[in-house]
C-alpha cells in the first residue's frame, strides 16, 4: 500500500496541534480559576491591611511587603555576583576541563529542588552564620537559588554577541575589558535582564527556600530590620490553605491571585524589555 504524503502530513500537524493545545489548556485554566475565585476578594483594603481574626479576614499587606523585600534582597545579592561570574566564564576563563565542569555544575544547580536550597540556607545562614530566621537569611538563600539561572542566561546573552564585534573592537587597539564594557555588555543587556527577571519570578514564587530561613506564620507588625522574620506570599498561601481552619476560600484565592499577578507582571516586564531591545538590535 502506498502512503499518501498529504495524509501523513495532516495527521502529523493534527498531533502537533493537539500537543500545543494540551499545553495551553491547563495554563489558561489556572489563570481563569484563580482570577474567577480570587477577584471577589480584591479590594484596596485586602492589599493594604494587616490580616485579622487569625488571618480569616483583613488583608495580606505584610505578606506582599515581605515578598518584595525578599525578592529585592535576592536580586541585590545575586545579580552582581551572577553577572561577574558569567562575564568571567564566557569572556576570560580558558576553555579547559575545569571551566567545563564549572559550567556543567552551574547548569545542574538550576535543577536542584528548592527545598534543598532551603535546608542549605538553614544550615549556612540561619545556624552557622547565626543570622537566625531573618530577611537576610531568606534573601541570601533565594539569591543562591536564582544564581544559576542568572549565570546561565547571562552567559548565553554574552555568547550571543557576535565574535566579529569583539575582533573589530580589539583590532582598533581597545583592551579586552574596554571591549567587554563598551561592546559586549551593552549588547547582552536584554538577555541578562530577561534572565534576571525570570529568576526574580522564581524567587517570588518559591515556598521551600523561605520555609526554614525567614517565613513567619503570622506577625502582628511589619519587619523593621534585615534580621527580622517576615511573612511572604507563597508561605502565607500555604498557611491559609493547610494550617488555618475555616478560611473563606476567596481570601486564599485572592492571595494566589496577587502572587500570580506579581510573577506575571515581572515576566511581562521581561518580555517588554526583550521586545524593545530586539527592535533596537541591528545585526
Amino acid at each position: 500500500m502506498r502512503k499518501d504524503p498529504l495524509k501523513t502530513q495532516r495527521i502529523a500537524f493534527f498531533l502537533m496541534f493537539l500537543a500545543t493545545f494540551l499545553v495551553v489548556v491547563p495554563v489558561g485554566l489556572i489563570v481563569v480559576i484563580i482570577v474567577q475565585k480570587g477577584l471577589p476578594a480584591m479590594s484596596w483594603q485586602f492589599l493594604t491591611d494587616m490580616p485579622r481574626q487569625g488571618m480569616r479576614a483583613g488583608g495580606i499587606f505584610p505578606a506582599i511587603i515581605g515578598t518584595l523585600y525578599l525578592v529585592s534582597g535576592a536580586i541585590i545579592f545575586a545579580l552582581p555576583i551572577g553577572l561577574l561570574a558569567a562575564v568571567y566564564l564566557s569572556e576570560y576563563a580558558r576553555d579547559n576541563l575545569l571551566t567545563r565542569i564549572i559550567k556543567l555544575a552551574i547548569v545542574n544547580l538550576a535543577g536542584v529542588p528548592s527545598v534543598v536550597y532551603g535546608l542549605f540556607g538553614l544550615a549556612l545562614f540561619v545556624v552557622f552564620l547565626k543570622f537566625g530566621a531573618s530577611i537576610l537569611s531568606g534573601s541570601l538563600t533565594l539569591g543562591i537559588m536564582i544564581l544559576p539561572i542568572i549565570i546561565t542566561t547571562s552567559r548565553e546573552a554574552l555568547e550571543s554577541v557576535p565574535q566579529s564585534f569583539r575582533e573589530v573592537s580589539l583590532s582598533l587597539g581597545a583592551s579586552k575589558w574596554q571591549t567587554i564594557r563598551h561592546i559586549v555588555l551593552p549588547n547582552a543587556i536584554p538577555g541578562i535582564l530577561t534572565g534576571t527577571i525570570l529568576g526574580l519570578g522564581r524567587a517570588a514564587g518559591e515556598t521551600a527556600p523561605i520555609l526554614f530561613t525567614v517565613a513567619a506564620f503570622y506577625l502582628p507588625q511589619l519587619p523593621s530590620s534585615l534580621f527580622d522574620q517576615a511573612m511572604a506570599l507563597p508561605y502565607h498561601l500555604y498557611v491559609l490553605s493547610t494550617q488555618v481552619p475555616n478560611v473563606d476560600p476567596k481570601i486564599t484565592y485572592g492571595t494566589a491571585l496577587v502572587l500570580l499577578a506579581i510573577v506575571l507582571f515581572m515576566n511581562l516586564i521581561a518580555i517588554v524589555i526583550r521586545y524593545r531591545f530586539r527592535k533596537l538590535k541591528k545585526w
Binding site: 573592537s169 580589539l170 582598533l172 581597545a174 541591528k282
Partner: protein, 248 residues
Amino acid sequence: MVKFQVRNLNIWFGTVHSLREVSLDIEENRILSVIGPSNSGKTTFLRMLDRMNDLQANFKMSGSVIFDAVDIMRIDRESLRKRVGMVFALPLPLPLSIFDNVAYGVRMHGLRRKKDIAGIVERSLKQAYLWEEVKDRLRESAFKLSGGQQQRLCIARTLAVEPEVVLFDEPCSGLDPISTAKVEEAMLKLKQDYTIILVTNNVKQAARVGDRTAFFLSGELIEEDNTDKIFTAPADERTDGYIRGKFG
C-alpha cells in the same frame, strides 16, 4: 624603508601547520598585495601582523616579525593594534551610530574633547570618501548604510586611530564593482601616508593596486616581487598557473 621584517615565520593552530618558513620584507608607503587560493595561509599571515591570531587558544608560532626594529611579540597588543589597523572581509560596523563607529577607537584611547573627536571623525570619513554621503546623518545607525558604504565606514574607523599600517583582509569580497572601485581608489590614495597590505582573492585587484605582490600556496610563500614582474614573468610556474586561473 622596511616596515615589517618577517623571518622564518611558522604558525600552527593545534596540529595544523598553517604557515611555513615565511620570510618577507614589507616596504613603507607601498601596497603589498597578497594572493593565493583559499587555505593558502594569506589571512593567517595578515592576522599575524596585528597579533589577531593570538585570540585563538591553540595558536603557536616560531620565527620573528620585526615592526620598525622591534619584535611585535614584545609590543603589547593594544599599542601594536593602534599602529597596525585592520579592515575585515565583511563590512562589520559596530552596533553604534555612524559617528560613534568612527570615534570608537580614539575614545578607547582616551580622547575626551568633543571638538577633537568631531574633527577626527570628519577627517577620517573624508579619507575614506564617505563624508559627502553621510555628513547629514552621522547620528543614524551604521547599519542603515549600504554594504559598500559600510565598508568605507570601516576604513574610516580604522584610519581614525591614525595607524601606520592598514591591513585589508579581502575588503571587497562582498561588494559590487562600483563599491569595489571606490575602496580601491581610497587605498591608492592612502598609500602616501600608510603602509598597506591587501589580502585579496581577486587577482585583477592585486594587479590594479599592488606595488608588490606576494603569492602564497599551502602555507608557503612561493614568491614576492614587483607586481609587474609577478604578472608578466613570474619566477615560479605555480604563480603563473594561479594568476592565469589554471587553479584556484
